[in-house]
Symmetry: C2
Subunit: 327 residues, 2 copies
Protein backbone atom coordinates (compact mmCIF):
# COMPACT_ATOMS: atom_id res chain seq x y z
CA UNK A 1 0.00 0.00 0.00
CA UNK A 2 1.46 3.37 -0.92
CA UNK A 3 1.77 5.98 1.78
CA UNK A 4 -0.72 8.77 1.18
CA UNK A 5 0.84 12.11 2.22
CA UNK A 6 -0.94 13.79 5.15
CA UNK A 7 -1.50 16.92 3.08
CA UNK A 8 -3.40 14.80 0.56
CA UNK A 9 -5.42 13.17 3.35
CA UNK A 10 -6.32 16.64 4.56
CA UNK A 11 -7.89 17.44 1.18
CA UNK A 12 -9.86 14.18 1.34
CA UNK A 13 -10.89 14.97 4.92
CA UNK A 14 -12.38 18.25 3.87
CA UNK A 15 -14.26 16.46 1.09
CA UNK A 16 -15.87 14.33 3.81
CA UNK A 17 -13.64 11.27 3.74
CA UNK A 18 -13.88 9.33 7.00
CA UNK A 19 -11.06 7.05 5.89
CA UNK A 20 -8.77 10.09 5.69
CA UNK A 21 -10.06 11.21 9.10
CA UNK A 22 -9.15 7.90 10.69
CA UNK A 23 -5.70 7.86 9.09
CA UNK A 24 -4.91 11.40 10.20
CA UNK A 25 -5.99 10.68 13.78
CA UNK A 26 -3.69 7.64 13.76
CA UNK A 27 -0.82 9.78 12.55
CA UNK A 28 -1.51 12.42 15.20
CA UNK A 29 -1.54 9.64 17.80
CA UNK A 30 1.74 8.22 16.51
CA UNK A 31 3.27 11.71 16.62
CA UNK A 32 4.47 11.43 13.01
CA UNK A 33 6.58 14.43 12.01
CA UNK A 34 5.28 14.11 8.45
CA UNK A 35 1.74 14.85 9.65
CA UNK A 36 2.63 18.01 11.57
CA UNK A 37 2.27 20.58 8.80
CA UNK A 38 -1.18 19.13 8.03
CA UNK A 39 -2.15 19.14 11.72
CA UNK A 40 -0.90 22.72 12.04
CA UNK A 41 -3.16 23.73 9.15
CA UNK A 42 -6.06 21.82 10.70
CA UNK A 43 -5.63 23.78 13.93
CA UNK A 44 -5.83 27.10 12.13
CA UNK A 45 -9.06 26.06 10.38
CA UNK A 46 -10.71 24.53 13.44
CA UNK A 47 -12.65 26.21 16.24
CA UNK A 48 -16.24 25.94 14.99
CA UNK A 49 -17.22 22.86 16.98
CA UNK A 50 -18.43 22.76 20.56
CA UNK A 51 -16.14 20.46 22.53
CA UNK A 52 -17.63 18.72 25.54
CA UNK A 53 -15.07 17.23 27.93
CA UNK A 54 -16.67 14.40 29.88
CA UNK A 55 -14.94 12.61 32.71
CA UNK A 56 -15.65 10.58 35.81
CA UNK A 57 -14.25 7.75 37.87
CA UNK A 58 -14.35 4.16 36.62
CA UNK A 59 -17.80 2.70 37.18
CA UNK A 60 -19.60 6.02 36.90
CA UNK A 61 -21.34 4.99 33.68
CA UNK A 62 -19.53 7.51 31.48
CA UNK A 63 -19.46 5.49 28.29
CA UNK A 64 -23.13 4.59 28.43
CA UNK A 65 -23.97 8.24 29.06
CA UNK A 66 -21.82 9.31 26.10
CA UNK A 67 -23.75 6.84 23.91
CA UNK A 68 -27.08 8.26 25.14
CA UNK A 69 -25.97 11.85 24.58
CA UNK A 70 -24.71 11.03 21.10
CA UNK A 71 -27.98 9.31 20.20
CA UNK A 72 -30.03 12.28 21.45
CA UNK A 73 -27.85 14.72 19.49
CA UNK A 74 -28.24 12.57 16.39
CA UNK A 75 -32.03 12.76 16.73
CA UNK A 76 -31.63 16.53 16.52
CA UNK A 77 -29.69 16.08 13.29
CA UNK A 78 -26.22 16.96 14.62
CA UNK A 79 -23.04 15.20 13.51
CA UNK A 80 -21.24 13.96 16.61
CA UNK A 81 -17.57 13.10 17.04
CA UNK A 82 -16.38 11.08 20.02
CA UNK A 83 -12.79 10.78 21.20
CA UNK A 84 -12.41 8.36 24.10
CA UNK A 85 -9.19 8.08 26.07
CA UNK A 86 -8.71 4.67 27.61
CA UNK A 87 -5.82 4.65 30.08
CA UNK A 88 -5.91 0.91 30.59
CA UNK A 89 -4.57 0.28 27.12
CA UNK A 90 -1.03 1.54 26.83
CA UNK A 91 0.30 -1.42 24.90
CA UNK A 92 -2.20 -2.64 22.38
CA UNK A 93 -1.17 -0.17 19.71
CA UNK A 94 -4.75 0.81 19.19
CA UNK A 95 -7.17 0.91 22.08
CA UNK A 96 -9.31 -1.61 23.84
CA UNK A 97 -12.87 -1.85 22.66
CA UNK A 98 -14.49 -3.12 25.85
CA UNK A 99 -16.17 0.13 26.78
CA UNK A 100 -17.07 0.89 23.23
CA UNK A 101 -19.22 -2.20 22.85
CA UNK A 102 -22.18 -0.29 24.23
CA UNK A 103 -21.82 1.99 21.27
CA UNK A 104 -22.24 -0.62 18.54
CA UNK A 105 -25.74 0.62 17.86
CA UNK A 106 -24.20 4.00 17.04
CA UNK A 107 -21.19 2.70 15.18
CA UNK A 108 -23.09 2.13 11.94
CA UNK A 109 -24.46 5.69 11.87
CA UNK A 110 -22.40 7.75 9.38
CA UNK A 111 -23.25 10.92 11.36
CA UNK A 112 -21.21 9.63 14.28
CA UNK A 113 -17.47 9.09 14.35
CA UNK A 114 -16.08 7.24 17.37
CA UNK A 115 -12.41 6.95 18.08
CA UNK A 116 -10.75 5.28 21.04
CA UNK A 117 -7.23 6.40 21.77
CA UNK A 118 -4.72 4.78 24.07
CA UNK A 119 -2.98 6.96 26.59
CA UNK A 120 0.74 7.18 26.23
CA UNK A 121 2.79 7.04 29.37
CA UNK A 122 4.95 9.86 28.18
CA UNK A 123 4.96 13.54 28.66
CA UNK A 124 1.94 15.24 27.27
CA UNK A 125 1.80 13.08 24.18
CA UNK A 126 -1.69 11.85 24.93
CA UNK A 127 -3.09 15.34 25.51
CA UNK A 128 -1.49 16.68 22.36
CA UNK A 129 -2.77 13.76 20.25
CA UNK A 130 -6.32 13.89 21.69
CA UNK A 131 -6.64 17.61 20.99
CA UNK A 132 -5.27 17.15 17.47
CA UNK A 133 -7.97 14.49 16.98
CA UNK A 134 -10.64 16.93 18.19
CA UNK A 135 -9.47 19.50 15.63
CA UNK A 136 -9.55 16.90 12.87
CA UNK A 137 -13.17 16.05 13.74
CA UNK A 138 -13.94 19.77 13.84
CA UNK A 139 -12.53 20.40 10.35
CA UNK A 140 -14.30 17.24 9.10
CA UNK A 141 -17.60 18.92 9.99
CA UNK A 142 -18.51 17.36 13.34
CA UNK A 143 -20.08 20.25 15.20
CA UNK A 144 -20.37 18.57 18.59
CA UNK A 145 -17.37 16.65 19.86
CA UNK A 146 -17.35 14.65 23.05
CA UNK A 147 -13.93 14.09 24.57
CA UNK A 148 -14.33 11.32 27.11
CA UNK A 149 -11.61 10.48 29.60
CA UNK A 150 -11.39 8.34 32.69
CA UNK A 151 -11.20 10.67 35.70
CA UNK A 152 -8.12 8.97 37.11
CA UNK A 153 -4.73 10.47 36.44
CA UNK A 154 -3.83 14.12 36.18
CA UNK A 155 -3.38 14.01 32.41
CA UNK A 156 -6.80 12.51 31.80
CA UNK A 157 -8.53 15.09 33.98
CA UNK A 158 -6.63 17.98 32.39
CA UNK A 159 -7.58 16.79 28.92
CA UNK A 160 -11.28 16.67 29.83
CA UNK A 161 -10.91 20.25 31.04
CA UNK A 162 -9.28 21.32 27.76
CA UNK A 163 -12.76 21.70 26.29
CA UNK A 164 -15.50 24.30 25.96
CA UNK A 165 -17.79 22.64 28.53
CA UNK A 166 -16.62 20.11 31.10
CA UNK A 167 -19.06 17.53 32.43
CA UNK A 168 -18.04 15.47 35.48
CA UNK A 169 -20.00 12.27 36.08
CA UNK A 170 -20.46 10.90 39.59
CA UNK A 171 -22.31 7.74 40.48
CA UNK A 172 -24.06 6.67 43.66
CA UNK A 173 -22.73 3.78 45.66
CA UNK A 174 -19.07 3.84 44.75
CA UNK A 175 -16.71 3.18 47.63
CA UNK A 176 -14.96 5.75 49.80
CA UNK A 177 -11.69 5.37 47.92
CA UNK A 178 -13.45 6.27 44.68
CA UNK A 179 -15.03 9.28 46.34
CA UNK A 180 -11.61 10.42 47.49
CA UNK A 181 -10.21 10.16 43.98
CA UNK A 182 -13.03 12.38 42.80
CA UNK A 183 -11.91 15.36 44.87
CA UNK A 184 -9.52 16.70 42.24
CA UNK A 185 -11.89 15.91 39.41
CA UNK A 186 -14.92 17.64 40.87
CA UNK A 187 -13.44 21.13 40.79
CA UNK A 188 -13.09 21.19 37.00
CA UNK A 189 -16.84 20.69 36.38
CA UNK A 190 -18.95 23.22 34.51
CA UNK A 191 -21.80 20.77 34.90
CA UNK A 192 -22.12 17.93 37.40
CA UNK A 193 -23.96 14.78 36.46
CA UNK A 194 -25.11 12.11 38.88
CA UNK A 195 -25.64 8.94 36.86
CA UNK A 196 -27.76 5.90 37.70
CA UNK A 197 -30.53 8.13 39.12
CA UNK A 198 -32.95 5.22 38.91
CA UNK A 199 -31.18 3.91 42.01
CA UNK A 200 -32.38 4.64 45.53
CA UNK A 201 -29.06 5.95 46.79
CA UNK A 202 -28.69 8.53 44.00
CA UNK A 203 -30.42 11.25 46.03
CA UNK A 204 -27.70 11.18 48.63
CA UNK A 205 -25.03 11.71 45.94
CA UNK A 206 -27.07 14.59 44.46
CA UNK A 207 -27.42 16.21 47.88
CA UNK A 208 -23.73 15.73 48.71
CA UNK A 209 -22.64 17.37 45.47
CA UNK A 210 -25.02 20.31 45.86
CA UNK A 211 -23.83 20.86 49.41
CA UNK A 212 -20.22 20.77 48.32
CA UNK A 213 -20.94 23.37 45.64
CA UNK A 214 -22.68 25.65 48.15
CA UNK A 215 -19.69 25.50 50.46
CA UNK A 216 -17.44 26.18 47.48
CA UNK A 217 -19.28 29.32 46.40
CA UNK A 218 -19.21 30.68 49.94
CA UNK A 219 -15.45 30.86 49.94
CA UNK A 220 -14.75 31.37 46.24
CA UNK A 221 -15.22 34.46 44.08
CA UNK A 222 -18.64 35.16 42.59
CA UNK A 223 -18.89 33.02 39.51
CA UNK A 224 -20.40 34.08 36.20
CA UNK A 225 -21.70 30.54 35.70
CA UNK A 226 -23.52 28.67 38.46
CA UNK A 227 -22.47 25.01 38.23
CA UNK A 228 -25.64 22.88 38.05
CA UNK A 229 -26.08 19.30 39.27
CA UNK A 230 -28.11 17.12 36.89
CA UNK A 231 -29.41 13.66 37.70
CA UNK A 232 -29.57 11.25 34.78
CA UNK A 233 -30.38 7.63 34.16
CA UNK A 234 -29.05 6.05 31.00
CA UNK A 235 -31.39 3.18 31.79
CA UNK A 236 -34.68 5.13 31.87
CA UNK A 237 -33.48 8.10 29.80
CA UNK A 238 -34.30 10.47 32.66
CA UNK A 239 -32.34 13.73 32.63
CA UNK A 240 -30.64 13.31 29.23
CA UNK A 241 -32.59 16.21 27.67
CA UNK A 242 -32.06 18.31 30.78
CA UNK A 243 -28.31 17.67 30.53
CA UNK A 244 -28.26 18.65 26.85
CA UNK A 245 -30.11 21.83 27.81
CA UNK A 246 -27.53 22.64 30.48
CA UNK A 247 -24.68 22.03 28.04
CA UNK A 248 -26.36 24.35 25.51
CA UNK A 249 -26.84 26.98 28.24
CA UNK A 250 -23.17 26.76 29.20
CA UNK A 251 -22.18 27.08 25.58
CA UNK A 252 -24.39 30.18 25.37
CA UNK A 253 -22.75 31.66 28.46
CA UNK A 254 -19.31 31.10 26.95
CA UNK A 255 -20.02 32.44 23.48
CA UNK A 256 -18.75 35.96 22.91
CA UNK A 257 -18.21 36.49 26.64
CA UNK A 258 -15.06 37.31 28.57
CA UNK A 259 -15.61 34.00 30.40
CA UNK A 260 -15.48 32.17 27.08
CA UNK A 261 -12.43 34.04 25.84
CA UNK A 262 -10.64 33.35 29.11
CA UNK A 263 -11.53 29.67 28.82
CA UNK A 264 -10.19 29.36 25.30
CA UNK A 265 -7.01 31.17 26.33
CA UNK A 266 -6.51 28.72 29.18
CA UNK A 267 -7.07 25.76 26.84
CA UNK A 268 -4.59 27.25 24.33
CA UNK A 269 -2.02 27.68 27.10
CA UNK A 270 -2.48 24.05 28.18
CA UNK A 271 -2.13 22.93 24.61
CA UNK A 272 0.95 25.04 24.02
CA UNK A 273 2.54 23.59 27.14
CA UNK A 274 1.79 19.97 26.21
CA UNK A 275 2.97 20.41 22.63
CA UNK A 276 6.14 22.14 23.79
CA UNK A 277 6.87 19.34 26.27
CA UNK A 278 6.42 16.78 23.52
CA UNK A 279 8.74 18.57 21.10
CA UNK A 280 11.31 19.40 23.78
CA UNK A 281 11.54 15.84 25.11
CA UNK A 282 11.56 14.39 21.61
CA UNK A 283 14.60 16.45 20.69
CA UNK A 284 16.20 15.95 24.10
CA UNK A 285 15.83 12.17 23.97
CA UNK A 286 17.30 12.03 20.47
CA UNK A 287 20.24 14.25 21.42
CA UNK A 288 20.84 12.59 24.80
CA UNK A 289 21.35 9.17 23.26
CA UNK A 290 24.93 10.18 22.39
CA UNK A 291 25.83 10.77 26.06
CA UNK A 292 23.43 8.65 28.13
CA UNK A 293 25.19 5.26 27.95
CA UNK A 294 28.52 6.54 29.31
CA UNK A 295 26.82 8.53 32.08
CA UNK A 296 24.61 5.55 32.95
CA UNK A 297 27.72 3.39 33.27
CA UNK A 298 29.19 5.78 35.86
CA UNK A 299 25.82 6.05 37.58
CA UNK A 300 25.48 2.28 37.67
CA UNK A 301 28.72 2.11 39.66
CA UNK A 302 27.32 4.71 42.08
CA UNK A 303 30.34 6.96 41.47
CA UNK A 304 27.89 9.75 40.74
CA UNK A 305 24.21 10.34 41.59
CA UNK A 306 21.13 10.67 39.37
CA UNK A 307 20.82 14.44 39.91
CA UNK A 308 24.45 15.25 39.05
CA UNK A 309 24.42 12.86 36.09
CA UNK A 310 21.11 14.30 34.84
CA UNK A 311 22.46 17.84 35.03
CA UNK A 312 25.47 16.76 32.98
CA UNK A 313 23.28 15.00 30.45
CA UNK A 314 21.06 18.07 30.10
CA UNK A 315 23.89 20.54 29.58
CA UNK A 316 25.70 18.29 27.08
CA UNK A 317 22.48 17.66 25.16
CA UNK A 318 21.34 21.29 25.13
CA UNK A 319 24.77 22.35 23.90
CA UNK A 320 24.63 19.75 21.13
CA UNK A 321 21.06 20.48 20.10
CA UNK A 322 20.73 24.22 20.51
CA UNK A 323 24.19 25.78 20.32
CA UNK A 324 23.76 26.81 16.67
CA UNK A 325 20.46 28.47 17.38
CA UNK A 326 21.86 30.36 20.34
CA UNK A 327 25.09 31.43 18.69
Amino acid sequence: MTYVPSQRLLEQLQAGGTWALGRLISRAEAGLAEARPALAEVYRRAGAAHVIGLTGVPGSGKSTLVAKLAAALRERGEKVGIVAIDPSSPYSGGAILGDRIRMTELANDPGIFIRSMATRGATGGMARAALDAVDLLDVAGYRTIILETVGVGQDEVEVAHASDSTVVVSAPGLGDDIQAIKAGVLEIADIHVVSKCDRDDANRTLTDLKQMLTLGTMVGPKRAWAVPVVGVSSYTGQGIDDLLGRIAAHRGAMTGSELGRERRRRVAEFRLQKTAETLLLERFTAGASAFAPALAETLSGRQTDPYAAARQLISKTIRKEYSNELA
Copy 2:
Protein backbone atom coordinates in the same frame (compact mmCIF):
# COMPACT_ATOMS: atom_id res chain seq x y z
CA MET B 1 7.10 22.97 63.85
CA THR B 2 10.59 23.83 62.71
CA TYR B 3 11.77 22.47 59.38
CA VAL B 4 14.42 19.82 59.91
CA PRO B 5 17.03 20.05 57.13
CA SER B 6 17.19 16.98 54.91
CA GLN B 7 20.88 16.54 55.65
CA ARG B 8 20.01 16.28 59.35
CA LEU B 9 17.22 13.76 58.56
CA LEU B 10 19.76 11.70 56.67
CA GLU B 11 21.89 11.40 59.82
CA GLN B 12 18.81 10.31 61.78
CA LEU B 13 17.90 7.85 59.02
CA GLN B 14 21.26 6.15 59.30
CA ALA B 15 20.77 5.93 63.06
CA GLY B 16 17.57 3.96 62.33
CA GLY B 17 14.98 6.70 62.57
CA THR B 18 11.80 5.69 60.74
CA TRP B 19 10.36 9.18 61.26
CA ALA B 20 13.28 10.58 59.28
CA LEU B 21 12.76 7.88 56.65
CA GLY B 22 9.11 8.86 56.19
CA ARG B 23 9.95 12.57 55.99
CA LEU B 24 12.67 12.04 53.40
CA ILE B 25 10.41 9.88 51.23
CA SER B 26 7.80 12.66 51.36
CA ARG B 27 10.39 15.21 50.29
CA ALA B 28 11.56 12.96 47.44
CA GLU B 29 7.93 12.60 46.38
CA ALA B 30 7.35 16.35 46.52
CA GLY B 31 10.50 16.89 44.45
CA LEU B 32 11.89 19.39 46.97
CA ALA B 33 15.12 20.96 45.75
CA GLU B 34 16.33 21.23 49.36
CA ALA B 35 16.29 17.43 49.63
CA ARG B 36 18.32 16.77 46.50
CA PRO B 37 21.85 16.90 47.95
CA ALA B 38 20.73 14.44 50.65
CA LEU B 39 19.08 12.17 48.06
CA ALA B 40 22.21 12.34 45.91
CA GLU B 41 24.28 11.20 48.88
CA VAL B 42 21.75 8.44 49.59
CA TYR B 43 22.11 7.15 46.05
CA ARG B 44 25.88 6.90 46.36
CA ARG B 45 25.56 4.91 49.60
CA ALA B 46 22.76 2.61 48.38
CA GLY B 47 22.97 -0.57 46.33
CA ALA B 48 23.13 -3.24 49.02
CA ALA B 49 19.45 -4.17 49.00
CA HIS B 50 17.75 -6.61 46.65
CA VAL B 51 14.92 -4.76 44.90
CA ILE B 52 11.95 -6.84 43.74
CA GLY B 53 9.70 -5.10 41.24
CA LEU B 54 6.23 -6.64 41.39
CA THR B 55 3.46 -5.73 39.00
CA GLY B 56 0.26 -7.09 37.52
CA VAL B 57 -3.11 -5.97 36.28
CA PRO B 58 -5.81 -4.76 38.67
CA GLY B 59 -7.53 -7.72 40.27
CA SER B 60 -4.51 -10.01 40.06
CA GLY B 61 -4.10 -10.10 43.83
CA LYS B 62 -0.78 -8.22 43.90
CA SER B 63 -1.21 -6.51 47.25
CA THR B 64 -2.25 -9.67 49.06
CA LEU B 65 0.72 -11.49 47.57
CA VAL B 66 3.06 -8.68 48.65
CA ALA B 67 1.72 -9.02 52.20
CA LYS B 68 2.30 -12.79 52.14
CA LEU B 69 5.83 -12.40 50.75
CA ALA B 70 6.67 -9.76 53.34
CA ALA B 71 5.36 -11.97 56.16
CA ALA B 72 7.40 -14.96 54.92
CA LEU B 73 10.54 -12.83 54.65
CA ARG B 74 9.96 -11.52 58.17
CA GLU B 75 9.80 -15.09 59.47
CA ARG B 76 13.29 -15.50 58.05
CA GLY B 77 14.39 -12.44 59.99
CA GLU B 78 14.76 -10.02 57.07
CA LYS B 79 13.81 -6.36 57.25
CA VAL B 80 11.41 -5.63 54.40
CA GLY B 81 10.64 -2.30 52.77
CA ILE B 82 7.56 -1.90 50.56
CA VAL B 83 6.95 0.95 48.13
CA ALA B 84 3.53 0.74 46.50
CA ILE B 85 2.56 2.96 43.58
CA ASP B 86 -1.14 3.56 43.39
CA PRO B 87 -2.11 5.25 40.13
CA SER B 88 -5.70 5.80 41.15
CA SER B 89 -4.70 8.48 43.60
CA PRO B 90 -3.24 11.48 41.83
CA TYR B 91 -5.00 14.09 43.95
CA SER B 92 -5.10 13.04 47.55
CA GLY B 93 -1.64 14.39 48.37
CA GLY B 94 -0.75 11.13 50.01
CA ALA B 95 -2.10 7.90 48.65
CA ILE B 96 -5.24 5.91 49.15
CA LEU B 97 -5.06 3.16 51.71
CA GLY B 98 -7.67 0.78 50.31
CA ASP B 99 -5.22 -1.78 49.00
CA ARG B 100 -3.03 -1.38 52.01
CA ILE B 101 -5.71 -2.46 54.43
CA ARG B 102 -4.73 -6.08 53.86
CA MET B 103 -1.38 -5.16 55.28
CA THR B 104 -2.56 -3.90 58.66
CA GLU B 105 -1.32 -7.08 60.30
CA LEU B 106 2.15 -6.17 59.06
CA ALA B 107 1.94 -2.46 59.73
CA ASN B 108 2.75 -2.82 63.41
CA ASP B 109 5.91 -4.83 62.77
CA PRO B 110 8.94 -2.53 63.14
CA GLY B 111 10.88 -4.75 60.71
CA ILE B 112 8.54 -3.72 57.90
CA PHE B 113 8.22 -0.26 56.40
CA ILE B 114 5.28 0.26 54.01
CA ARG B 115 4.90 3.36 51.92
CA SER B 116 2.16 4.12 49.41
CA MET B 117 3.01 6.75 46.84
CA ALA B 118 0.69 8.49 44.45
CA THR B 119 1.60 8.59 40.80
CA ARG B 120 2.17 12.01 39.37
CA GLY B 121 0.71 12.68 35.96
CA ALA B 122 3.87 14.43 34.95
CA THR B 123 6.96 13.39 33.15
CA GLY B 124 8.95 10.83 35.02
CA GLY B 125 8.39 12.42 38.42
CA MET B 126 6.80 9.28 39.80
CA ALA B 127 9.60 6.99 38.64
CA ARG B 128 12.24 9.33 40.01
CA ALA B 129 10.49 9.62 43.38
CA ALA B 130 9.80 5.88 43.71
CA LEU B 131 13.43 5.00 43.03
CA ASP B 132 14.63 7.65 45.47
CA ALA B 133 12.33 6.03 48.06
CA VAL B 134 13.86 2.62 47.33
CA ASP B 135 17.36 4.05 47.96
CA LEU B 136 16.22 5.62 51.21
CA LEU B 137 14.92 2.24 52.40
CA ASP B 138 18.19 0.65 51.27
CA VAL B 139 20.33 3.10 53.27
CA ALA B 140 17.96 2.71 56.25
CA GLY B 141 18.93 -0.97 56.35
CA TYR B 142 16.03 -2.71 54.59
CA ARG B 143 17.77 -5.48 52.67
CA THR B 144 14.76 -6.64 50.67
CA ILE B 145 12.61 -3.99 49.05
CA ILE B 146 9.41 -4.73 47.18
CA LEU B 147 8.41 -2.10 44.64
CA GLU B 148 4.78 -2.79 43.78
CA THR B 149 3.04 -1.08 40.87
CA VAL B 150 -0.20 -1.58 39.03
CA GLY B 151 0.58 -3.04 35.63
CA VAL B 152 -1.42 -0.45 33.75
CA GLY B 153 0.36 2.49 32.21
CA GLN B 154 3.80 2.56 30.69
CA ASP B 155 5.37 4.42 33.61
CA GLU B 156 4.13 1.93 36.18
CA VAL B 157 5.42 -1.03 34.20
CA GLU B 158 8.79 0.62 33.59
CA VAL B 159 9.20 1.35 37.29
CA ALA B 160 8.53 -2.29 38.21
CA HIS B 161 11.23 -3.23 35.73
CA ALA B 162 13.71 -0.78 37.29
CA SER B 163 14.54 -3.43 39.88
CA ASP B 164 16.90 -6.36 40.37
CA SER B 165 14.18 -8.99 39.90
CA THR B 166 10.84 -8.35 38.25
CA VAL B 167 7.82 -10.45 39.19
CA VAL B 168 4.69 -10.23 37.03
CA VAL B 169 1.46 -11.48 38.59
CA SER B 170 -1.32 -12.89 36.44
CA ALA B 171 -4.62 -14.20 37.71
CA PRO B 172 -7.05 -16.72 36.27
CA GLY B 173 -10.46 -15.60 35.09
CA LEU B 174 -9.82 -11.99 34.21
CA GLY B 175 -11.58 -10.81 31.08
CA ASP B 176 -10.16 -10.61 27.58
CA ASP B 177 -9.55 -6.88 27.81
CA ILE B 178 -7.40 -7.43 30.88
CA GLN B 179 -5.51 -10.16 29.08
CA ALA B 180 -4.81 -7.77 26.23
CA ILE B 181 -3.43 -5.17 28.62
CA LYS B 182 -1.07 -7.77 29.97
CA ALA B 183 0.78 -8.25 26.68
CA GLY B 184 3.21 -5.40 27.30
CA VAL B 185 3.64 -6.29 30.95
CA LEU B 186 4.42 -9.95 30.45
CA GLU B 187 7.64 -9.41 28.57
CA ILE B 188 9.38 -7.65 31.47
CA ALA B 189 9.04 -10.66 33.81
CA ASP B 190 12.04 -12.42 35.31
CA ILE B 191 9.53 -14.57 37.16
CA HIS B 192 5.88 -15.15 36.32
CA VAL B 193 3.37 -15.75 39.08
CA VAL B 194 -0.13 -17.07 38.61
CA SER B 195 -2.11 -16.08 41.67
CA LYS B 196 -5.30 -17.63 43.06
CA CYS B 197 -4.05 -21.14 42.28
CA ASP B 198 -6.67 -22.58 44.60
CA ARG B 199 -9.12 -21.89 41.78
CA ASP B 200 -10.06 -24.48 39.13
CA ASP B 201 -9.29 -22.24 36.17
CA ALA B 202 -5.73 -21.44 37.32
CA ASN B 203 -4.24 -24.39 35.42
CA ARG B 204 -5.31 -22.93 32.12
CA THR B 205 -3.56 -19.61 32.94
CA LEU B 206 -0.43 -21.52 33.98
CA THR B 207 -0.48 -23.51 30.72
CA ASP B 208 -1.11 -20.41 28.61
CA LEU B 209 1.83 -18.58 30.17
CA LYS B 210 4.20 -21.51 29.79
CA GLN B 211 3.19 -21.91 26.15
CA MET B 212 3.73 -18.23 25.52
CA LEU B 213 7.22 -18.45 27.02
CA THR B 214 8.07 -21.46 24.86
CA LEU B 215 7.03 -19.61 21.74
CA GLY B 216 9.02 -16.58 22.92
CA THR B 217 12.26 -18.52 23.42
CA MET B 218 11.95 -20.03 19.97
CA VAL B 219 12.20 -16.66 18.30
CA GLY B 220 14.33 -14.79 20.83
CA PRO B 221 18.05 -15.08 21.59
CA LYS B 222 19.19 -17.76 24.02
CA ARG B 223 18.61 -16.38 27.49
CA ALA B 224 20.95 -16.77 30.43
CA TRP B 225 17.96 -16.98 32.77
CA ALA B 226 15.00 -19.24 32.02
CA VAL B 227 11.86 -17.40 33.15
CA PRO B 228 9.88 -19.67 35.48
CA VAL B 229 6.12 -19.71 36.02
CA VAL B 230 5.11 -20.15 39.66
CA GLY B 231 1.59 -20.85 40.86
CA VAL B 232 0.69 -19.33 44.24
CA SER B 233 -2.34 -19.03 46.45
CA SER B 234 -2.31 -16.29 49.05
CA TYR B 235 -5.34 -18.03 50.53
CA THR B 236 -3.77 -21.46 51.14
CA GLY B 237 -0.15 -20.27 51.19
CA GLN B 238 0.72 -22.64 48.32
CA GLY B 239 3.73 -21.61 46.27
CA ILE B 240 4.93 -18.70 48.45
CA ASP B 241 8.11 -20.51 49.50
CA ASP B 242 8.67 -21.69 45.94
CA LEU B 243 8.36 -18.09 44.74
CA LEU B 244 10.85 -16.86 47.35
CA GLY B 245 13.22 -19.61 46.20
CA ARG B 246 12.89 -18.49 42.58
CA ILE B 247 13.54 -14.89 43.56
CA ALA B 248 16.65 -15.96 45.49
CA ALA B 249 17.79 -18.00 42.47
CA HIS B 250 17.34 -15.02 40.17
CA ARG B 251 19.24 -12.83 42.59
CA GLY B 252 22.03 -15.43 42.54
CA ALA B 253 22.08 -15.47 38.75
CA MET B 254 22.38 -11.69 38.68
CA THR B 255 25.08 -11.32 41.32
CA GLY B 256 28.55 -10.79 39.91
CA SER B 257 27.42 -11.82 36.43
CA GLU B 258 27.46 -9.91 33.15
CA LEU B 259 23.66 -10.35 33.14
CA GLY B 260 23.47 -8.56 36.49
CA ARG B 261 25.82 -5.76 35.46
CA GLU B 262 23.85 -5.24 32.25
CA ARG B 263 20.63 -5.11 34.26
CA ARG B 264 21.98 -2.49 36.68
CA ARG B 265 23.31 -0.44 33.76
CA ARG B 266 19.86 -0.50 32.13
CA VAL B 267 18.20 0.54 35.40
CA ALA B 268 20.74 3.36 35.79
CA GLU B 269 20.03 4.54 32.24
CA PHE B 270 16.27 4.55 32.93
CA ARG B 271 16.84 6.47 36.13
CA LEU B 272 19.13 8.97 34.45
CA GLN B 273 16.54 9.55 31.74
CA LYS B 274 13.66 10.04 34.19
CA THR B 275 15.68 12.36 36.43
CA ALA B 276 16.86 14.36 33.43
CA GLU B 277 13.29 14.72 32.14
CA THR B 278 12.17 15.95 35.55
CA LEU B 279 14.95 18.54 35.84
CA LEU B 280 14.64 19.65 32.20
CA LEU B 281 10.87 20.17 32.35
CA GLU B 282 11.11 21.83 35.76
CA ARG B 283 13.49 24.43 34.40
CA PHE B 284 11.63 24.69 31.10
CA THR B 285 8.27 25.28 32.79
CA ALA B 286 9.76 27.94 35.05
CA GLY B 287 11.46 29.73 32.17
CA ALA B 288 8.51 29.37 29.78
CA SER B 289 6.14 31.21 32.10
CA ALA B 290 7.61 34.50 30.87
CA PHE B 291 6.55 33.80 27.27
CA ALA B 292 3.64 31.34 27.41
CA PRO B 293 0.74 33.77 28.07
CA ALA B 294 1.44 35.94 25.02
CA LEU B 295 1.93 32.92 22.76
CA ALA B 296 -1.23 31.29 24.14
CA GLU B 297 -3.16 34.45 23.34
CA THR B 298 -2.08 34.27 19.68
CA LEU B 299 -2.73 30.52 19.64
CA SER B 300 -6.17 31.04 21.14
CA GLY B 301 -7.06 33.26 18.17
CA ARG B 302 -5.83 30.51 15.82
CA GLN B 303 -3.40 32.92 14.16
CA THR B 304 -0.71 30.35 14.77
CA ASP B 305 -0.71 26.62 15.46
CA PRO B 306 0.42 24.58 18.49
CA TYR B 307 3.55 23.25 16.76
CA ALA B 308 4.81 26.64 15.56
CA ALA B 309 3.96 28.27 18.91
CA ALA B 310 5.65 25.44 20.83
CA ARG B 311 8.82 25.77 18.75
CA GLN B 312 8.88 29.49 19.50
CA LEU B 313 8.30 28.85 23.19
CA ILE B 314 11.13 26.32 23.29
CA SER B 315 13.68 28.50 21.54
CA LYS B 316 12.83 31.58 23.65
CA THR B 317 12.98 29.54 26.85
CA ILE B 318 16.19 27.70 26.00
CA ARG B 319 17.82 31.02 25.10
CA LYS B 320 16.70 32.54 28.40
CA GLU B 321 17.67 29.55 30.53
CA TYR B 322 20.81 28.23 28.92
CA SER B 323 22.48 31.05 26.94
CA ASN B 324 24.97 31.83 29.73
CA GLU B 325 26.00 28.23 30.04
CA LEU B 326 26.50 27.90 26.30
CA ALA B 327 28.30 31.22 25.81
